[in-house]
Each structure stands twice: as structure tokens, then as C-alpha cells.
């Protein structure tokens, strides 16, 4: 990660949720770079996904059966690994988002001035 960029740490435990959500929003399969790029773009450069955590996270999701991967040609005609959401992943995402919103709401209630 470039030291010049303004660095924002991801809230711990949210990376997987972000990946799943990204895959859900884009309907079609995406490769790792695409996922990282997308998260960065959509969050207006606030959230940056480190490659060092992105790929292990993708492996973890594959192990748990929440994403599936297959190789396919990329936009620059190279072979790339594309990830796709599975039904189990979709369910998991719903669960995680719900949990996250609940926690976020709670946090906001604590930090916001009354």
C-alpha cells in the first residue's frame, strides 16, 4: 500500500462482507483486481483493500462455499480467475449486512450527541 495515499483501515471483519456485496451488486463474475478496484471506486477512495488480505479472504470465502471461482478471459485477453456469489454466499451476505447495520446503529447511538 502506498504510503502517500491517505490510508483508511477497514473496520475489522467487514472485508468479507464488502467482497460479497460487491459480487452481489455486479451480478456477473469478477476477478480479484476488479473487486478491489470496485470497492475503492464506490467508496470514493476511502476504503482500500490490501492485496495481502484480499486474496486470503477470497480463499476463505471459497472454502466456506460462499463464492465459486472459475478461470476466464479478462478484458485485456489474459486468463483471470473470476469469482461468483453462491446461494449460500447470498444468504451469508444478508446475515452479515443485518448484523453490521445493527452494530453500526448501536455505535452511532453511542457517539452521536443527544
Amino acid at each position: 500500500m502506498g504510503s502517500d495515499a491517505k490510508k483508511t483501515e477497514l473496520v475489522p471483519g467487514t472485508l468479507e462482507m464488502l467482497i460479497l456485496k460487491t459480487l452481489e451488486r455486479n451480478a456477473g463474475p469478477m476477478h480479484g483486481y476488479g473487486i478491489a478496484h470496485y470497492i475503492k471506486r464506490i467508496s470514493n477512495d476511502v476504503l482500500r483493500v490490501e492485496e495481502g488480505s484480499l486474496y486470503p479472504a477470497l480463499q476463505r470465502l471459497a472454502l466456506k462455499g460462499w463464492v465459486k471461482s472459475e478461470w476466464g478471459p479478462s478484458e485485456n485477453n489474459r486468463r483471470a480467475r473470476y469469482y461468483k456469489l453462491t446461494p449460500a454466499g447470498r444468504k451469508q451476505l444478508k446475515q452479515e449486512v443485518a448484523d453490521f447495520e445493527r452494530v453500526l446503529e448501536a455505535i452511532l447511538r453511542v457517539v452521536q450527541p443527544t
Partner: protein, 889 residues
């Protein structure tokens, strides 16, 4: 759901592990792709191509760390270590072939015994029938005080009422066995026929392989001349004729149309050969006294056994109130189909055998744990080196457990072979004509469930014999063990203590098992002996014939046949005497009835006098060699028209005529009211055993078959020579009377009893086998530990001898230690064995809880083993030259 997730995760993990090289390559390619994309992004942002590439790599971070993390994610590391442990274990086991061989054989015997008994239990007790939803199928019995409250059949009228009033069963079916003579094609033959209601097949889910089963309307009298063939009969008798449906066969000389053939696996109730519809007249359906029907049912979905039981009890109580004359005291009970009354003994035997096999395996595990501990001592340096170069305790333990795992899996595989052999032995030890009555016998084999069971006990064994040594030796004392020339006995004190404790446990286990086996075998011997008391089965040929009602409709015809047959058989050369009877002593089958004594009021309903009874021919007592104690036995003059006579057994005389002479008194069988004739007692015969499980002799009533005939009879022929040699002549004589009459169950009387005892003998043989195995394993175990302990003390013994100890002092030292261990083991084992004896005496006939010979004998035997196990190594140690011993290290 959770479980499935875990399983599919494990599956993906293994799949990936198998393709881990591809995984690495793909991850590599994915990262390369990512870097390229990143570099392009940087270039588009205006960087020089080379700079863009460097920046991408920089931003990417530590690539090999990422690789490691990804691989860990899939748990490759632990899998890799696991396989490495196993590889290493294989190498260690191959380096010690002697140890490996002994351990595997020991384990194979223990595991094999367990797998075999499990397979037996699974086939005979857990799943004896191949019906879907087996545990919803039940028997419904009536219990009658006349039958000693033993579960018995149901009367047709009670069955009809029960069917109408019950709300807990989805189906109800009744049947009764009625063997018939099958004639027409080839030799006349006695076939096992069961008359069943139409619901019978539907309830059991039995579909015909050819044709169909019965329709409800075929239960009506006059419409029931149809038959469904069993697979065996169809094959054997009709050459598997595919066009058999529609053909006519002759049963008891009446024509029946074959409407179907059942598939091979449908053989219920054993030993069925064909089924006909149960057709009862309206009058017969009103019969309430005779409990002639067997009743089965399928529980409605959601109905529990207890609920059904409560319902039939209530209904039975209502019937008892409505019909006190017949039903007073009569109850009803529901049992699982697979738990037929009378089968309880199989369950008791099998659980005892299972326990014995479990003990054998435990003893085997203790032996292997001991060997492992001994090996661990010699491997302490290896362990220390591994620990010194950085293996944690967990890693050492994992390594040792992997070795144990390998051993136990090898033992399990060989154990399967042992169990195949043992099951072959078990199958071969049962006579065929007994097997045909045993549900589930054909399915005795090592099935998938037995395989899983074997795997589970193998793994459990590896924990039992592997954990203690692993804990012990994974904690090496580095300083001691690594010192060059460090004493090998120094750090092993803990190991020695543990090994001694194991020996104590082993002796205790062996004692309990041996005493249990001994008590059981002696109990069986008593039971078998009892079953042959009071008569003499030697030199007697027995065979059975049942006269078909079509040709022997009249009682007189039956009596005449029996009389003529007896005359003809008695006259044969080489035959001392011959007679006939409805039941054979020692055959474990009898009928009981209530009976009346003239001049005494009938007891109130529910407390009737009960006796077994049978009809016998003239000369019966002389032929079977039952002593006549008082009066006379039946003669050729006791025929129809002559005064009616009866004989009673000693027990009946004692119980019902305690202080008077029974001779001249008159009795009759059956209910009090009908005007049946009285029979005058003319003789008292010695007692003969009734059922194997009876704890005491039971009353018995004999009537002459010339005055009260019985179409079903055994002929007994006492030969002066070998009984079977008389068979051709006997056959010829009977054929001369009736050449269409099939003879069956042809055996010597001794064989009848032996076949009946086959189950007991098998259980006894297995028990002896397990007990002997326990003794051998325990002896080897104790000897091994003592020999090892002595070899460890060679130096100490040398010092003692050098200081002037005499050989007998050394002997006392070593033997004393061995005896002390054995004594401790016996002290723990004896109370357990005593408790076991008491439990067994309560459950099994013939077992005496406090059998001094068994207890003292086996205690002495094990003491002797300990003595020898101490003496042999001690003698070796005494011979050692003290100078050699002192230089030992």
C-alpha cells in the same frame, strides 16, 4: 445443517489438498494478473512503464507471505503434518516388525471378536426382519393366568373386538401356523403353511414377486381356496415355474389355486413355505376361549409403544369384565416385533458375549499400551532429540498417536478377517433345521454397519492404548536422556509405575471375564444335563407324521393308524419297543391346559389348575425309558370303549395330591362345565423336563392316544443298535399303512436334544474362546512386564549377588513383585466377579452365583501365571554373572 456445512467444507479442503500444486500455480497466476492490472493502472495515471511495475509490486506487499496465508487458509499445513506423521509412523512400525506383528495380531483378535458379535447382534436382535419402519411393527399378545401369564396368542373373538375398538394401530393382522401335507407333484411332503388375514401382507409391505397376495374377500369361508407360495418352495418343488400362477396344488388333499409367489427375502413368519387365507366360520370367529391366533400390528404414525400398550390393556380389561367366563384375569400386551417373547435369552446371551468381547479387546489394548511403554523407554533418547531440536510436546504426542492410529487401523483390517472366520464358525455350528426358525439368520454377515463399528472401535482402541504412552513419553527429561551413557532406567520410573498399574488392571479384567465365562458354561452344562434327566434318549429313533384331516377325519381313524403303526414298528427285528407321543421329552416344546379333579370344586377364574399334557401310545414309558413310579403304564388294552385312564407325573401328584394316593382318582383336561368324560389315574410316572428355562419340574398329564387321539405325533422307536439304521424298515412299515403320508423331523432322540441345545453350545464355545484368549493375553502381558522389569534391574541384581545375596533371595524379590501385582489385580477383580455372578445367576438358569470351584480355580490359575511370569525372568537373572551385570552399561 451445521454438520453438513462442516462436511462439505472438509470435502472441499481435501479436494484442494489433492490438487495443491495446481492451487499454487493458480494463485501465482492470479497474483501476476493482479500486478499487471495494477501496473496498467499506474501507467494510465502517467507513470513510466518500469516505475509503474515497481510501484505495483511495492503496493502489493509481501507476496510469499500472502501465499503462506492463503495456503494456511485451506489447512494445508496441518494436513501436511498429519501425512508426514503417518509416513513416519509407517517407517517406525516397519523398523520393528516383531512389535508390529504382535500388536496387530493382538488387536485383530480383540477387534475381530467384537465385530463378529456385533454382526451377530445386529442380524438377530437389532434388525432380524427386513421390513420398512421395523420399529413400528408390534406383536399383540394376550396373557392368561392359565399360561402362567406368559404371552400367548389371542382368541378369534378377542381379535375381532380389538380390531373394531382400537384406535392406535394403522393395520392389524392375525395368522396361525397350520402345516399341511402337499401332494400331487412327486413325493408327499409336509409343508409349513401359515393362514393369514389379507391385511398381513399389506401391513408388512410384502408385494408378490409373481401374481398377487390375498384380497379381503378371500377371508370368507368358501372363497379361501387360494395360496401364495414362498420363494423356497416355488424353487424347490415347482422348479421356479414362471407360469405357476393359476395352477392348482393339493394341500391336505384339498385343491388350492396358486395366486402368487413371494420374493426370496419375504420369509415371514419363519419357517413359512406358503400362505393361505385365514378363513373362519362365523362360529369360529365367536370362539373366545382358545387363543389360537397370533396377532401383529403396525402402530399409527405418532403413536408410541407405551400408548398402544395402555390401549390394549384397557380393551383387555373391558373384555374381561364383559366375558368373565373366558376372559377373567386375561390381559394383553404389546411388544416390538423384533422382541418376540422367548427371544429375551438371545438378547441376554448376546449382550454377555458383547461384554466378553469388549473385555478381550480391553485386555488386548492394555497389552499393547504396555509394549508401547516399554518401547517408549528405549525411545526416550529419540524423543529427547526431537524435543531438543524444537518439537513441542504436542508434536511428539501427535507423532506417537499417529503410530497408534496406524497400528489400530491395521489391527482393524486384520480384525475383519478374524470376524469373517468367526462368523463362519458361528454359522456352521447351527443345524439347518434350527436355523429355519431364527429370524435374521441369513443376514449374519459383516455389513456396512459392522464396518463402521469396526472403524470406530479401532479408533477408540488407538486412543485407549496410545494415549497413556504418548502422554508419558512426550515429556522427556532432556538432561537425563541426552547425557551420553545416561542410565536407561533412571527416567523410566514413571513408565514402570504405569506399566504395573496396567498389569493390575489386566489381571482384574481377565479374572472377571474368566469367572463370567466359567459360570456361564457351567450353568449351560447344568441346563443341558437337566434337559436329559428322567428319560434315556440313546438308541431311540424319532420321526414325526401328521395325519391330514381329509383322509383321517374321524378320531377312530387316527387312533387306528397309531395303533397299527405301533404294532408294526414294535414287531420289527432289532427294535425293542416303539410308541408314539405328541411331544418329545427334551425337545423344549409343550402345550399346557387347565384341568379338573373329580370331587373338587373348580378354582375361581384366574386361578385354574394348569398342567402340560400329551397323548401317548401304549408302551410309551418303556420306550422312552421314563420310570413308572406307581401303578402301571398304558397298555394295548387301553382303547376306545375300555375304561378311560390317565397317568400323571410325580410333580403333579405331589402338588395336587399331597397326602393321598392319586391312583383311582379321576381327572379331565379343559374347562369345568362341558360334560366331557373323566379319566381315572392308573399310574404315576417320573418327571421329565419341560422347557430349558424352567427352574423346576412342572406337572404333566398323560392320556392314551387310543382314547383321545392327536393327529400330530412323534413316533419313537427304541432300537437295540444304532437308531438311524432302523430308519429304512420304519419307513417301509409306515408306507405300508399309508404311502401318501410324509415323514419329517427324522433324527435320533439324542440329535433332537443336541439340536435344541445348539444355541447354548455355541454361546458356551464362544465364551470359552474369549476366556481362553483373555488368559493368554493376560499371561503374555504379565510375563512381558516382569521380564522387562527384571532386565532393567539386571545391574541391581548383580550388585545384590556380588554383595552375597543367595539365588533364592533374588527369586523371592522378583517373584514377590510379580505376585504382589497379581494379588492386587485379583483383589480388585474378585468383588467385581462376585457381583457379576450374582447378576448372571438372576438372569440365566443354571448359573450358581457363588460357585467356589470357578472362583478358586481361576484365582489360582492367574496366581500361577504370575508365579511363572516372575520365576522365568528371575531364573535368567540369577544365572547372570555379577561381573557382567555390573559392567552392564
Amino acid at each position: 445443517m451445521k454438520m453438513m456445512d462442516k462436511l462439505s467444507q472438509l470435502w472441499r479442503r481435501l479436494l484442494f489438498y489433492a490438487r495443491r500444486d495446481q492451487f499454487d500455480r493458480e494463485l501465482e497466476e492470479e497474483m501476476r494478473f493482479h500486478l499487471e492490472m495494477k501496473a496498467r493502472e499506474n501507467a494510465e495515471a502517467g507513470m513510466e512503464p518500469l516505475e509503474a511495475r515497481y510501484a505495483a509490486v511495492r503496493q502489493f506487499g509481501n507476496q510469499s507471505l500472502l501465499r503462506e496465508v492463503s495456503r494456511d487458509m485451506w489447512g494445508f499445513r496441518s494436513l501436511e503434518t498429519f501425512f508426514q506423521d503417518l509416513r513416519y509412523g509407517v517407517r517406525m512400525l516397519m523398523k520393528n516388525p516383531g512389535f508390529t506383528l504382535i500388536a496387530v495380531i493382538t488387536l485383530a483378535l480383540g477387534i475381530g471378536a467384537n465385530t463378529a458379535i456385533f454382526s451377530l447382534t445386529s442380524a438377530l436382535v437389532l434388525r432380524p426382519f427386513d421390513f420398512h419402519d421395523l420399529d413400528r411393527l408390534v406383536w399383540i399378545y394376550e396373557t392368561a393366568p392359565q399360561q402362567g401369564d406368559f404371552p400367548s396368542g389371542m382368541s378369534p373373538a378377542d381379535f375381532a373386538d380389538l380390531s373394531r375398538q382400537q384406535k392406535v394401530f394403522a393395520n392389524l393382522a392375525a395368522f396361525r401356523g397350520s402345516n399341511s401335507n402337499l401332494t400331487g407333484v412327486g413325493e408327499p411332503e409336509r409343508v409349513r403353511n401359515f393362514e393369514v388375514t389379507a391385511e398381513f401382507f399389506r401391513m408388512l409391505g410384502g408385494e408378490a414377486a409373481l401374481g398377487r397376495t390375498f384380497l379381503p374377500e378371500e377371508e370368507q369361508a368358501g372363497r379361501g381356496q387360494v395360496a401364495v407360495l414362498g420363494y423356497g418352495l416355488w424353487q424347490r418343488r415347482f422348479g421356479a415355474d414362471p407360469k405357476i400362477v393359476g395352477a392348482t396344488i393339493s394341500l391336505d388333499e384339498k385343491a388350492y389355486t396358486v395366486i402368487g409367489v413371494m420374493p426370496e427375502r419375504f420369509d415371514f413368519p419363519k419357517p413359512v413355505e406358503l400362505w393361505t387365507p385365514l378363513t373362519l366360520s362365523d362360529e369360529a370367529w365367536n370362539e373366545r376361549r382358545e387363543q389360537s391366533l397370533q396377532v401383529m400390528a403396525r402402530l399409527k404414525a405418532g403413536v408410541e409403544l407405551g400408548q398402544a400398550n395402555a390401549e390394549v390393556e384397557t380393551l383387555a380389561a373391558r373384555l374381561a369384565e364383559q366375558y368373565p367366563q373366558t376372559n377373567a384375569g386375561r390381559g394383553a400386551t404389546v411388544r416390538l416385533l423384533r422382541r418376540k417373547p422367548g427371544n429375551e435369552y438371545s438378547e441376554v446371551f448376546l449382550s454377555l458375549l458383547m461384554a466378553a468381547a469388549g473385555f478381550v479387546l480391553l485386555i488386548a489394548c492394555v497389552n499393547i499400551a504396555n509394549m508401547q511403554l516399554a518401547r517408549a523407554t528405549s525411545r526416550s533418547r529419540e524423543m529427547a532429540v526431537r524435543a531438543a531440536i524444537g518439537a513441542g510436546r504436542l508434536a511428539l504426542m501427535r507423532q506417537l498417536l499417529a503410530e497408534s492410529l496406524l497400528l489400530s487401523l491395521l489391527g482393524g483390517v486384520c480384525g475383519l478377517l478374524v470376524s469373517y472366520w468367526l462368523l463362519d464358525f458361528i454359522r456352521g455350528s447351527f443345524p439347518l433345521d434350527q436355523v429355519q426358525y431364527i429370524p435374521g439368520w441369513e443376514s449374519i454377515r459383516v455389513n456396512e454397519r459392522a464396518m463402521i463399528f469396526t472403524l470406530v472401535i479401532s479408533l477408540a482402541s488407538s486412543v485407549v492404548f496410545g494415549l497413556v504412552p504418548a502422554l508419558q513419553s512426550s515429556n522427556p527429561n532432556l538432561n537425563e536422556a541426552l547425557k551420553e551413557g545416561g542410565r536407561s532406567d533412571g527416567g523410566a520410573a514413571g513408565g514402570q509405575r504405569m506399566r504395573k498399574a496396567l498389569i493390575v488392571a489386566e489381571v482384574a479384567l481377565a479374572l472377571v471375564l474368566m469367572v463370567g465365562a466359567g459360570l456361564m458354561v457351567k450353568g449351560f452344562a447344568r441346563m443341558i444335563e437337566k434337559q436329559q434327566q428322567g428319560f434315556d434318549p440313546r438308541h431311540a429313533l424319532t420321526l414325526r407324521a401328521t395325519l391330514p384331516p381329509s383322509r383321517y377325519a374321524d378320531e377312530r381313524q387316527i387312533a387306528a393308524f397309531h395303533r397299527q403303526a405301533q404294532e408294526r414298528l414294535s414287531a420289527l427285528p432289532g427294535v425293542e419297543s416303539a410308541s408314539s407321543t405328541s411331544f418329545l421329552p427334551g425337545s423344549d416344546a409343550w402345550i399346557s391346559t387347565e384341568f379338573q379333579i373329580e370331587g373338587r370344586p373348580a378354582p375361581p377364574p384366574g386361578q385354574e389348575r394348569v398342567s402340560s399334557y400329551q397323548q401317548v401310545g401304549a408302551d410309551y414309558f418303556r420306550t422312552v425309558r421314563i420310570p413308572v413310579i406307581k401303578g402301571r403304564e398304558f397298555s394295548a388294552d387301553d382303547v376306545e370303549g375300555a375304561p378311560l385312564v390317565a397317568m400323571i407325573s410325580e410333580t403333579l401328584a405331589r402338588r395336587y395330591f399331597p397326602n393321598e394316593d392319586p391312583l383311582g382318582r379321576r381327572v379331565k383336561v379343559g374347562a369345568p362345565e362341558p360334560a366331557t368324560p373323566w379319566y381315572t389315574i392308573v399310574g404315576v410316572a417320573g418327571d421329565v423336563p419341560r422347557f430349558m428355562i424352567d427352574r423346576e419340574m412342572q406337572p404333566m398329564l398323560y392320556l392314551p392316544n387310543q382314547q383321545l387321539s392327536d393327529r400330530n405325533a412323534y413316533f419313537v422307536v427304541r432300537a437295540s443298535g444304532a437308531p438311524m439304521a432302523a430308519l429304512p424298515a420304519v419307513r417301509a412299515q409306515i408306507a405300508a399303512l399309508d404311502d401318501r403320508l410324509p415323514l419329517y423331523e427324522i433324527k435320533s432322540h439324542e440329535q433332537v436334544i443336541a439340536d435344541r441345545m445348539a444355541g447354548l453350545r455355541l454361546v458356551a464355545a464362544l465364551m470359552v474362546m474369549f476366556g481362553a484368549l483373555a488368559l493368554v493375553l493376560a499371561s503374555v502381558g504379565v510375563y512381558g512386564v516382569m521380564a522387562y522389569a527384571v532386565s532393567q534391574r539386571t545391574r541391581e541384581i548383580g550388585v545384590r549377588v556380588a554383595l552375597g545375596a543367595r539365588p533364592q533371595d533374588v527369586l523371592r524379590l522378583v517373584v514377590g513383585q510379580s505376585l504382589k501385582l497379581a494379588a492386587l489385580g485379583l483383589a480388585i477383580g474378585l468383588p467385581v466377579a462376585l457381583a457379576l455372578g450374582r447378576v448372571m445367576a438372576g438372569a440365566l438358569y443354571g448359573v450358581v452365583a457363588l460357585d467356589p470351584l470357578t472362583f478358586v480355580g481361576f484365582t489360582m490359575l492367574l496366581t500361577g501365571v504370575a508365579l511363572l511370569a516372575g520365576y522365568l525372568p528371575a531364573r535368567r537373572a540369577m544365572r547372570v554373572d555379577p561381573m557382567v551385570a555390573l559392567r552392564f552399561e
